[in-house]
């Protein structure tokens, strides 16, 4: 195989942009094969080897741009890609199931409806909500990774919000504004990002991006009002409201998770749906 110095230098420039990847050697071999094939073809057409290399490299594109585009696609077999893409819909469906169970469990925690609520029932509910939040968080991360093509800064923010949400659920489950507020922030950021793409447009963005946030804010504010304004609401009425309102919040979120799970299963986000577009 002939040694082409311009191609060698070009491949070194590409290497800088993809270094550290598990498939860096494969990428180099693949591009090398392409460029050598192109030069062989151009030389056969009458160009000398230097001019053929220049033409082949010009046709291939700027090394910095090519390296950037190559680096934006996770390596085949990447554990992060596999974790957040292949299994993502299962996280969503499992989250939906737990949110439905949580919705069914809330009425049983209301003393007025079911006197003698045990500590075990309370702890079970907290654990269920924590796992529901964890799985919802993994689903939101999967959506972000799929949209960005990597674990970018927005995905990191969503991850941090969901970790805090799960921690708040465990440490202060009675303080709805904390854990519901953090889930709301993470969900809104994600759906706002996914809304213009096939992953989030239509039902996921209507349910999780509009209906659920409004319902959640109304319920959290109402819960705050009825627990602080004394004499207006009897304890029985407070329990009754919470037995209806909180399950409604959980059920709408579960429905949103199902729609998101279905999208994660069927939609392949193309590069053109992401921020930086391929310059064809």
């Amino acid at each position: 195989m002939a040694e082409y110095t311009l191609i060698r230098d070009y491949l070194l420039a590409i290497d800088l942009g993809v270094q550290g990847r598990a498939d860096a050697a494969d990428l180099r071999d693949e591009l090398s094969d392409h460029l050598h094939s192109a030069v062989d073809r151009l030389c056969a057409g009458g160009l000398d080897s230097v001019e053929a290399q220049r033409t082949a490299l010009r046709n291939f594109g700027e090394p910095a741009l090519v390296a950037q585009l190559l680096a934006a696609v996770p390596p085949k077999g990447s554990p992060m890609y596999t974790f957040f893409n292949r299994g993502a819909s299962y996280f969503a469906f499992a989250a939906a199931a737990l949110w439905v169970l949580a919705a069914a469990g809330f009425p049983f925690l209301q003393e007025a409806l079911f006197p003698g609520v045990t500590e075990t029932a309370y702890v079970t509910m907290v654990v269920m909500l924590a796992f529901a939040g964890l799985l919802a968080g993994l689903t939101l991360l999967a959506v972000n990774v799929r949209l960005a093509g990597s674990f970018d800064s927005v995905t990191t923010i969503v991850a941090a919000l969901m970790v805090l949400a799960v921690a708040s659920t465990v440490l202060a489950p009675w303080f709805l504004p904390a854990w519901l507020g953090l889930i709301l922030a993470a969900t809104s950021i994600t759906l706002n990002r996914a809304k213009p793409t096939p992953l989030g447009n239509g039902s996921p963005s209507i349910l999780l991006g509009t209906v659920w946030p409004i319902l959640t804010i109304v319920v959290v504010v109402a819960a705050f009002v009825i627990s602080t304004v004394s004499g207006v609401f009897t304890p029985e009425l407070q329990d009754l409201i919470q037995a209806i309102a909180l399950p409604a919040v959980c059920l709408v979120y579960a429905a949103g998770m199902v729609t998101l799970g279905l999208r994660l299963r069927t939609v392949s986000v193309s590069q053109s749906d992401r921020g930086p577009l391929i310059q064809a």
């Binding site: 195989m1 591009l31 696609v73 193309s270 053109s272 391929i278 310059q279 064809a280």
Partner: protein, 112 residues
Amino acid sequence: MNREALKGHLDLLVLSVLADGPLHGYAVIEQLRIRSLDVFDLAEGTVYPVLHRLELAGHLTSEWSEVAGRRRRSYVLTRSGSAQLDQQRATWQVFASSMNAVLVRKPWPNTP
């Protein structure tokens, strides 16, 4: 042809070329050029991220061989890729026929 115009259609074009059989990256680009009668003149390096993304999505698989002392990676359309191609082709045909219907010149004078 303006390269911007091909944005968003590369998946369909690459899947369509690979529907005829396995090809390596250089051959994919050659086929795109030949089948478009030299109209689609791509920055060749931008086709590889498309191939890799389609492989990650399960629409393609790849295998390595050795040719002229070089490692060569060839891509094959999977069943999922074939279904994706059918879906994208149908979407494109609706889009193209709708565009044509809108763009067609009406004879003058335009009688109702």
